[in-house]
Each structure stands twice: as C-alpha cells, then as structure tokens.
C-alpha cells in the first residue's frame, strides 16, 4: 500500500490540460486554493476532535453535551483568550507586517 503523499503525487501528476485562472492573477488564485484546502483539513480535524469527545463522554458514562458544556472562568478563561489572540495574530500577520512592498524587477523582458 502506498503512503498518502505517494498516492497524491501519482494523482496530481496525472492531470492534463492548461489551468486557466479566474482571478486577476495567478498567485492570488493559488493562495486561495491553499486556503480552501486548509479549510477542508480543519473540517477533518474537527471531526476527529468530535470523535474523541464522544469517546471520552462514553468512557465517563456521561452525555457528550455535558462534556462540552465547560464555561471558561478565571485563569483558564485568560489562558484560552491568550491562545485565541495568538492564533489570530499568526493568521493575520501579513496585515500587520510593517515592510512596504518593494518594487520588484519583472523577469527580464
């Protein structure tokens, strides 16, 4: 049996034809593709967390909604807030980057 990555390489390299972008530039379109693929992977991870939560609830003999019904307070609330702020900062980094756009030489024409 092949690994996931090997299987994907085989699939990806079998595609034919020209890829016409819809957005005004190709880089933007490629970044959109990466973002959407990441979105799908997030859904996959959420399903996995859900499975674990259900398993834990079952092992504890309680309803999964009871397991999930945790209200954050005090230090724990602060810790979660900081984690969320960190996550957003990582995701939004580019919008805060102070560097100006450099004028790049286009490929020699």
């Amino acid at each position: 049996m092949k690994s996931e990555a090997e299987a994907l390489i085989e699939l990806i390299s079998s595609a034919r034809g020209a890829r016409k972008p819809s957005l005004a530039n190709r880089e933007t379109e490629e970044v959109l593709n990466i973002a959407l693929a990441t979105l799908i992977e997030l859904a996959v991870a959420n399903d996995r967390i859900d499975r674990l939560e259900r398993l834990v609830a079952q092992l504890r003999g309680e309803d999964v909604s009871a397991l999930r019904d945790i209200t954050y307070e005090g230090d724990v609330a602060e810790e979660r807030q900081q984690a969320t702020d960190g996550l957003l900062m990582r995701a939004m980094r580019i919008m805060l980057d102070p560097r100006e756009e450099a004028v790049t030489e286009k490929a020699a024409d």
Partner: protein, 381 residues
C-alpha cells in the same frame, strides 16, 4: 438496487479521515452551488454589465461579450476560482484512497475478471484508439480523463468516476439514492406501458452503475454496455461481478457499433450526449436507430441544462465549458436533438422530449431525455 453508494469489492478501502475529507468537500460544493452560485445572475446586473458598459460605452450583446463582462466582476471571479478549486479537491479526496489502495483493487479485479463463477463478460479491443475528442481531455477535471488505461488490471479511471460521481452529485444536490436508470424505468412504465426488452444496450456506461441497475431490475434481460476506456470498463465489469449481476461490457466507439442491425429491443444512453461533439452525437444517434429492432425503443437521457431563460443564464451555465473541461457542454445545451433523431430515421411523431423529475432529488433536480421508436409491426415488446 440503488445506484450510488453501492458497496462492492473494487471500491478502495477508505479511512475515516478520508471519508471526513470527502464529506467536507461535498459540503463546500453544496455551499458554493446552493448559496453562492445563484447570485451570479444578479452580480451580472450589479457588477458585470456596468463594468463592461464603463469600458465599452454600451451594454454587452453577444455571448462573448457577456462572458467578458462576467469576468470583470470580482464576485464572479471569486466564485469561479473557488468552484474550480472545489472540483479539483473532489479528485484529491477520492484519488488519495484509490492510488493508496490500488494494488489490492487491481488484485480483486483480476480475480473477478477470471472467476469461473462470473455472470457477465468483458470484451476489450486493443486495436481501438479511444476517441481523442473525449480521451484527450480531462472532462470535469478527472485526472487522466475517461480513456486512461495504465495497463493490464488497471481500474483507476472507473474508480475515480464512481467515487467522484458520488461526491460530485451529492454536492450538486442529486440525492444519493437517485438513479438515472430508475428514472428511465419509470418513464418506460408511464410512456411505454407493457414494453419489456429481452436484450438491451447502454451506450457510454462509464463505471456501469446504470447498466448494473438494469441488470438487477430485470435479471432475465441480456444487458450489454459499452464505453471507450479500458480502465473504465475493467472497473465496471469487476464491479458488476462483485454485485452479482450479469452485464456484458464492450470497448467500442459510440459512433460506430459492431452490433448487428435490429439486434436490441431497448437502447439507452445516460449523460453521454453532453460529453461528445456534434458529429459524434449524430452518428451515435444514427447507430442507436440502426441497432434497435423495429418496434424497439431508444432513450437518450442527459442533464437538464437545455433551454435557459436568457442568454445571461446560458453563459453562466456555460462555466463548465471553460473551467471544468466540459468541452461539449454548450454544444449539447444548444443542439436540436429532435432534428438529430428524425434525421437518424425515427418518425417525427415518435420523437418525444421529456422533462423528468429525479427519483429523490434534494434541489428539485431534473433530467432531460429524448425518446424515439423505430417503425415496425411489433410494438409490444
């Protein structure tokens, strides 16, 4: 037998994560189709046509100008880019388990193809070069296309088609339980009461989902099916054997059949016409007339994208031609199929276009079909 989601031995064994991923792509497609795409025609009025008018000093007139206008609207472009990406992710989500599990699938295929207990058959034609107008294109972006053949026991094209079809159709809103064969069986009951074939043909069968459904519905009918791709047909054959139904698969071009004149009672095609060009289609329809017996029935079924209300709707529908490898989408959508049927020999009064409800659609899905009957004494069946 339900056509989709049928469990059989040639399917790849998928992990729970792979199924999660397929489910997520389905959800993304459904959102894009049901919530985002319907805004395209409004976007045309609010963004596209005004942007065109600003540049050219007049409103768009022709199809080309309407297409140009659409592409001036950022919201349309974003939908288009996301839709293309979602389509590509369908193939990633089903292609990963297929290529991962391929050794086992090929071994199972070999076993089923040579099993002494097999009920149907497979006839490949090594001298046939699959029609390039289809085989050279990755239609709806299926990597490698319909004609891909990677050697002896290869089944990748068939597996991609079946699994991609499950994900794709669900995202479109065609219910999982839906069966195009079921719709045609219902049409036969309603419009051709009492007609039952002894021998039938399914043209352009792909993974043989409909062919197997006919064989399951009518165990005593001799079911033949054909397609151009060897990888597609090996999969279809092994799939049917694994399901325990008898179908005879042939590698053959739809426009030039090797069957005798008057040799079938019923000839059908499902979703084939939109995949082929005009000449192929006309030849295919002529062949369906030739091989059906006098009094026999021919039904060509396909997607209900014909007769859009306006040119703007037509251009919007035509997205698939330009971004989804559906090179013959527009040719089909605007073809005069009644004229093709009559030119093939069907008497005009037997040629009927049908607007058919899916068996269990989610978004009021509909199918198009056109039927004809070859003149002759025996109209009973």
């Amino acid at each position: 037998m339900k056509v989709r989601d049928v469990q059989h031995a040639v399917l790849p064994q998928t992990t729970v994560e792979e199924r999660s991923r397929q489910g997520a792509v389905v959800a993304l497609r459904r959102l894009l189709n049901a919530k985002v795409r319907p805004r395209n025609v409004e976007i045309y009025d609010s963004e596209a046509a005004p942007a065109f008018a600003e540049r050219h000093g007049r409103r768009p007139q022709s199809e080309e100008e309407i297409r140009e206008a659409f592409l001036m609207a950022p919201s349309y472009r974003l939908w288009s880019a996301a839709n293309r990406s979602a389509q590509e992710m369908i193939w990633v989500s089903v292609g990963q388990p297929i290529y991962r599990d391929l050794d086992r699938m090929e071994a199972v295929t070999e076993e089923l193809m040579h099993s002494p207990a097999r009920r149907g058959s497979l006839t490949l034609d090594p001298s046939y070069d699959p029609s390039p107008e289809v085989a050279d294109v990755d239609i709806h972006l299926q990597p490698g296309g319909y004609g891909m053949d990677r050697g002896e026991n290869d089944v990748v094209a068939g597996a991609l088609y079946e699994l991609g079809g499950n994900v794709f159709s669900f995202g479109q809103g065609i219910g999982r339980g839906d069966s195009k064969a079921g719709v045609i069986l219902r049409l036969l009951e309603e419009a051709f009461t009492g007609f039952k074939p002894a021998r039938m043909l399914d043209i352009g069968c792909s993974a043989g989902a409909a062919s197997a459904a006919y064989a399951a519905h009518w165990p005593d009918v001799e079911v033949h099916a054909l397609d151009l791709g060897a990888g597609m047909l090996r999969y279809a054959h092994a799939r049917a054997e694994s399901l325990g139904v008898a179908v005879h698969f042939h590698q053959m071009d739809a426009s030039s059949l090797t069957f005798e004149d008057d040799s079938f009672d019923l000839v059908v095609s499902h979703n084939l016409m939109h995949e082929i060009g005009e000449e192929k289609r006309q030849a295919m329809i002529r062949e369906s007339f030739r091989v059906v017996r006098p009094g026999g029935v021919v039904i060509h079924q396909d997607v209900a994208i014909r007769n859009p209300p306006t040119l703007v709707h037509q251009v919007e529908r035509d997205w698939d031609t330009h971004w989804n490898g559906e090179v013959h989408w527009a040719t089909y959508a605007t073809a005069d199929l009644k004229a093709d049927m009559i030119a093939a020999g069907f008497p005009a009064d037997t040629v009927i276009e049908h607007d058919l409800a899916a068996l269990s659609g989610m978004m009021n899905n509909r199918w198009y079909a056109i039927s004809g009957r070859k003149p002759g004494q025996d109209n009973n069946g």
